[in-house]
């Protein structure tokens, strides 16, 4: 009746996605704040990865993109 397996998958998937994005964004903020020259490019890469996550979200939301 209750599909517990799909519930567990939903929990795990959303946990990985949410915590992943928050980790990337937080690290980006942390690294953007500093004087060493290497910090800024790394922060930009991290924010870029967050942008990829947003794009993935849009892909999932818009039915025309994922063919459903």
């Amino acid at each position: 009746m209750i599909d517990w397996m799909s519930f567990v998958i939903v929990v795990v998937a959303s946990m990985i996605a949410a915590c992943g994005v928050v980790t990337l964004f937080s690290l980006g903020l942390r690294l953007a704040d500093g004087t060493e020259p290497w910090r800024r490019p790394v922060a930009v890469v991290l924010f870029g990865l967050c942008a990829v996550a947003v794009a993935a979200g849009i892909y999932l939301i818009v039915p025309a993109l994922h063919g459903g």
Binding site: F7, A18, L29, L60, I61
Partner: protein, 382 residues
């Protein structure tokens, strides 16, 4: 009664339900960015409205059953007549407005299901309702949704506060704009579809449209506009509850909570375990309140919200059952239903005027500003 008249009434009420659905759910996406000052209240609701409008046009697949399988519809089951749909919509609308008056974020889908269940129970007997589906689709998810989102939001909040230093946390406001936009877009694609489904299935049932055909363009456009207008009008009472009353939200918490909400909603809608957006969003806010050291969750408010969820379905069901009983008496009953519903809507609106809550209630030190540029400029001049 002329079939076109009742169909017209159903369409009007369905669009009004869509409107209440919009303003009831603005809070899911926009309560936390408004609370943290990531977006000014007006900009937030405008953004949410546009994204809901766009989302409604993007949704392609419209529900195949009005009740989402809760009622045994179609062949071998009950025929849900336009009069029953009308009664169900009245129940859903009235309950949505009552919960709005009390500032409770309750699920609009549950209100709609409750209304349809109540109306069907009167029209076709309680046996027409699928108890197993009710348990699996409504009751258990209602417990799991806030728990899941709360846990994820709690962890995400811990991560955000663990990694960043205090002075860096204003940057989360920028991220909030994106996460809350995603929630709004997802809402538009999901929720406008429900009303389109109700209208289309009613048109088919009344013989105005070919069975099995999709929604007409004017139906899509009308639903999109109704939900966008509802969203723009902003359910400020619910925004206040979710953004202010449960816990005090800081930008890092807002970002963590919305990331949790977005991830949970997207995962649940794509991995086959449907969860209510409203319940997920509320759970996220509670979770982030537990996650920040020094923050407190007002459990009394959280408890009120929980009670609201429990009674949403039976309450809208009762109203709809009453409306269905009245509608069963004939055309006069249907007209009386609509008049009574209009009177109820007007009464709730008048009562709400006594204690106004609107965008002016959200004081933000610097509305719409990501950081504080003025202060920085001064520092540079020095």
């Amino acid at each position: 009664m002329e079939p076109w008249l009742i169909v017209a009434l159903v369409i009007a009420l369905a669009l009004f339900f869509d409107f209440t659905n919009g303003f009831h759910d603005t809070a899911n996406a926009m309560a936390t960015p408004i609370a943290t000052g990531a977006l000014s209240p007006r900009v937030a609701v405008a953004l949410a409205a546009v994204l809901n409008l766009v989302g409604a046009f993007l949704s392609t697949e419209v529900a195949k059953t009005i009740s989402g399988g809760l009622i045994r519809e179609g062949e071998g089951g009950v025929q849900i007549t336009p009069a029953l749909v009308l009664a169900g919509l009245i129940g859903a609308i009235v309950w949505n407005l009552v919960t709005w008056l009390f500032g409770l974020p309750s699920s609009s889908s549950h209100a709609l299901f409750g209304g349809l269940i109540g109306a069907t129970a009167v029209g076709a007997g309680i046996g027409a309702i699928d108890g197993d589906v009710f348990l699996a689709k409504i009751l258990i998810p209602a417990v799991l949704a806030p728990l899941t989102a709360g846990l994820i939001s709690f962890l995400a909040t811990r991560i955000a506060f663990g990694i960043t230093k205090k002075r860096q946390r204003d940057g989360f406001k920028r991220g909030q704009v994106f996460t809350s936009s995603l929630v709004s877009l997802a809402h538009g694609t999901n929720d406008a579809q429900k009303t389109m489904g109700v209208i289309t299935l009613t048109l088919i049932a009344a013989g105005f449209q070919e069975p099995g055909s999709g929604p007409e363009f004017w139906v899509i456009a009308a639903c999109a506009v109704a939900i966008a207008l509802g969203t723009y009008s902003g359910g400020w009472r619910i925004i206040k509850t979710l953004g202010r009353d449960i816990t005090d939200v800081e930008p890092a918490q807002g970002f963590a909570a919305e990331s949790a909400t977005t991830a949970t909603i997207l995962a649940s809608s794509h991995l086959g375990f449907a969860l209510s957006t409203t319940q997920v969003a509320s759970g996220s806010v509670i979770g982030t309140g537990i996650g920040r050291k020094g923050a407190s969750v007002r459990w009394r408010t959280a408890g009120r919200i929980g009670i609201g969820w429990l009674i949403t379905l039976p309450a809208s069901g009762l109203v709809a059952a009453g409306a269905a009983l009245l509608a069963a008496t004939g055309p006069v009953g249907v007209i009386a239903d609509v008049v009574l519903a209009a009177a109820a809507i007007l009464t709730i609106f008048l009562v709400s005027r006594r204690t106004r809550v609107d965008h002016r209630h959200f004081h933000q030190p610097e509305p719409g500003q990501f950081v504080a540029p003025k202060r920085r400029k001064k520092e540079r001049v020095r």
